[in-house]
């Protein structure tokens, strides 16, 4: 399978070009292989979400281009792409519709696109939920289940559309560390069953190395890759990896780079304030 190949080519994003221009993304190039888990690490506010919004089609870019599987999503000439079910975002605070039951949420994509009849969508949704260990939550509203379950339902809702890529924007930020560790394994389990490209933004280095094939450490505003780490720990992974020697070595190798950027962001924040 050869889908979900994303090329970010020399992308620049300047906010507010008329007034005080802020360079958010600076000549950023990055290639994400089909079916790869690519982790983007950087301090909060470094501009990594801007990059995700450009891929998703929520924001315009200033110049450069982003190509997915040969199709130009956006470029200098056509700065904004239309969001669509081939690349679905999983949001930081979760965006399951609280007024729809979990089942109604999961079938939303295929039903509004007219790809599946309601009844077929329900059958598919039930099967996928059960497969993700979520049998029995269909009738509940998102507000009635734990935040960990909500995240999993949201990922299932995305996968219902058979996307080429999932774009995750710090989805586990608000979760406690115990839940987080369960969620990481759950995400990997889902990933092993449905190979999609995963573009995953985080500020947590351990999370990045545990999950990713590659980890791109970004510079803080403007945002561009500072260092790209190949995580040479074989998949499938489980929680044992966290205590392995290689995992610790990789952390040590990259910790300085991350810390340096965090410090820069911190000082920049002080100047602004």
């Amino acid at each position: 399978m050869n889908r979900g190949h994303i090329v970010i080519d020399d992308v620049v994003k300047v906010y507010d070009p008329q007034g005080a221009a802020v360079l958010a993304v600076d000549h950023c190039s990055l290639e994400i292989e089909p079916g790869e888990i690519c982790m983007i690490v950087g301090p909060s506010g470094c501009g990594k979400t801007t990059l995700l919004n450009a891929i998703a089609g929520f924001h315009e870019i200033t110049s450069g281009r982003i190509v997915m599987d040969g199709e130009v999503l956006c470029s200098t000439e056509k700065p904004k792409s239309a969001p669509g079910p081939d690349r679905i975002v999983v949001f930081q605070n979760g965006a399951l519709f609280p007024w729809k039951s979990n089942l109604e949420n999961v079938i939303f994509g295929p039903v509004v696109q007219g790809k599946l009849a309601r009844k077929d969508a329900i059958d598919k949704a039930r099967a996928m939920l059960a497969d993700a260990g979520l049998a029995g939550v269909e009738r509940n509203y998102p507000g009635e289940v734990s935040s960990g379950m909500r995240r999993r339902v949201e990922i299932v809702r995305a996968l219902m559309n058979d996307p080429k890529a999932l774009l995750l924007d710090e989805p586990y930020r608000a979760l406690d560390s115990l839940t987080k560790s369960v969620m990481h394994e759950a995400l990997l389990e889902i990933y092993y069953k449905n190979k999609v490209t995963i573009f995953f933004i985080t500020h947590d280095l351990e999370e990045a190395i545990f999950l990713g094939h590659r980890v791109a450490i970004m510079t803080t505003r403007p945002c561009k890759p500072k260092k790209i780490l190949n995580v040479d720990i074989a998949h499938p992974r489980d929680y044992g990896v966290l205590t392995s020697k290689r995992f610790r070595e990789l952390i040590e190798e990259t910790n300085d780079a991350v810390h340096e950027e965090a410090l820069k962001a911190f000082q920049a924040g002080e100047k602004e304030g």
Binding site: P83, V112, G136, E144, N161
Partner: protein, 446 residues
């Protein structure tokens, strides 16, 4: 072959169930029904009752003996080992959301007697008990979290379907809510609140005769007049005229409120949804909104020669602004990520509007409708006092001119009661349409 329990055994089974946390406070009738589906079983010392990852299709209640219960490590229970004696309940994994397999292995360490309950059969039985079923499930959840130290993430029980959530008739649902309400301290506090208020009125006017209160009608004279078959001033619950006034006011408010909702909600949705529309309309809107309703009276009388439509128009005007403004705020309050998520999932503009904007704004819309019905009454009475025939505002105004003080109070109290009833109806309609929100709030209140 397991025979049905005989009478003596059934009593034994009920006693054993009562010793188990989830069934402790259950009614006799429910315990009898549960005992009827229970199958007794015995295990010798050292027998493994079930292993981790077996299918979780029945639940065990310990009658006598002792078992050792060991969670598999992935479960993350704070205490993995647990010894259980009479009253212990295990094998409940099938009641949890998303679980179909055993989470633990259980071994009898002494000769042990148990009652086996088929999980699905038990769930079906609990679903047929709209009052007690959910309580039993809740006690299961508490037990699993407290006694078994399971993380909250896992310890979530399934929701019962059936009567309570889907097929239960609205009457029995109302009765159920009523019985819950009567069990809470709220109604009694409410009665005390009213008693204090009326008591103060009585003392201030009739006993202490405080200055300023002296001229007011006392509570006893008002109540006497209100309930008199032949009232001194011509208005009580026995006179047809009383109901004519109520009906007139209710009918006017109803027209005004529905008209205001019919126009206000779409205008509010458009104001919130379309930036251009807002730029045209909002400044006009904000200029008209603060003008008090009484200032509209002359214009209303000029516009509508018939006083009837003038009165309704005034009540409508105030409602309309409240509804439209709150609806607009509702649309603007919707988290951008819901709209983006719908875009990602391939929804078109109209689908976003229908599936995200409208339901997302609904909580604000209903807040607006609550305010709207209130101001509708408020401006109606003002309008009725200025012009109009019949209606509660008219009663109050004419009673004042004819020095019928108790009747003024009757008119005011009736307004209070009818106004409260209409706003309660709006709230009930809102709860009905926003079940998701009622459930969410119920969870956070606990």
């Amino acid at each position: 072959m397991e025979a049905a329990l005989r009478a003596g055994e059934a009593n034994g089974a009920i006693a054993a169930l009562r010793d188990a946390t989830p069934f402790r406070d259950a009614a006799e009738a429910l315990l009898q029904r549960i005992a009827a589906i229970a199958r007794p079983a015995r295990f010798g010392a050292g027998t493994r009752i079930y292993g981790a990852n077996d299918a979780a299709d029945d639940i065990f209640v310990l009658v006598s003996g002792r078992v050792e219960h060991v969670f598999k490590p992935e479960v993350g229970a704070r205490e993995a080992h647990k010894r259980m004696t009479r009253g212990g309940v295990f094998g409940w994994a099938g009641l949890l959301l998303g679980q179909t397999q055993r989470l633990a292995s259980v071994t009898a360490t002494e000769p042990t007697e148990v009652l086996r309950l088929d999980t699905e059969e038990l769930v079906k039985l609990l679903e047929s008990e709209p009052l007690e079923g959910p309580l039993v499930m809740e006690r299961f959840a508490t037990m699993i979290q407290r006694e078994f130290t399971l993380p909250a993430l896992l310890a979530q029980v399934r929701r019962l379907s059936g009567p309570l959530t889907e097929e239960m008739s609205s009457i029995s649902l109302t009765m159920y809510r009523l019985s819950l309400w009567l069990k809470s301290p709220r109604p009694y506090l409410m009665v005390i609140g009213f008693a204090l208020f009326l008591g103060f009125w009585y003392l201030a006017v009739e006993v202490w005769k405080l200055p300023r209160f002296r001229e007011m009608p006392g509570v006893t004279s008002v109540v006497k007049e209100w309930l008199a078959p032949e009232p001194t001033y011509g208005l009580s619950i026995y006179t047809a005229e009383y109901y004519q006034h109520i009906w007139m006011s209710v009918w006017r408010v109803t027209q005004a409120f529905f008209l205001a909702t019919l126009l206000g909600v779409p205008v509010g949705l458009l104001l919130g949804w379309s930036r251009k529309f807002k730029q045209y309309l909002f400044p006009v809107f904000e200029t008209l909104r603060p003008i008090p309703i009484l200032a509209w009276v002359p214009l209303a009388i000029v516009m509508f020669i018939a006083t009837e439509s003038a009165v309704v128009y005034l009540a409508f005007l105030a409602s309309f602004f409240a509804t439209a403004l709150n609806t607009m705020l509702g649309v603007e309050s919707i988290d951008e990520s819901y709209i983006r998520a719908a875009d990602c999932l391939g929804a078109n503009q109209w689908q976003v509007f229908r599936h995200v904007i409208i339901p997302g704004a609904l909580p604000f819309i209903f807040t607006g409708l609550q305010i709207s019905i209130g101001v509708s009454w408020f401006s109606l009475v003002a309008a009725e006092m200025v012009s109009g025939q019949y209606g509660l505002g008219y009663v109050i105004n004419t009673s004042y001119m004819m020095v019928r003080y108790p009747t003024i109070i009757i008119g005011m109290a009736t307004l209070g009661i009818v106004g409260y009833a209409t706003s309660a109806m709006v709230r009930i309609a809102g709860d009905y349409l926003m079940e998701w929100r009622v459930r969410e709030l119920a969870l956070t209140e606990r």
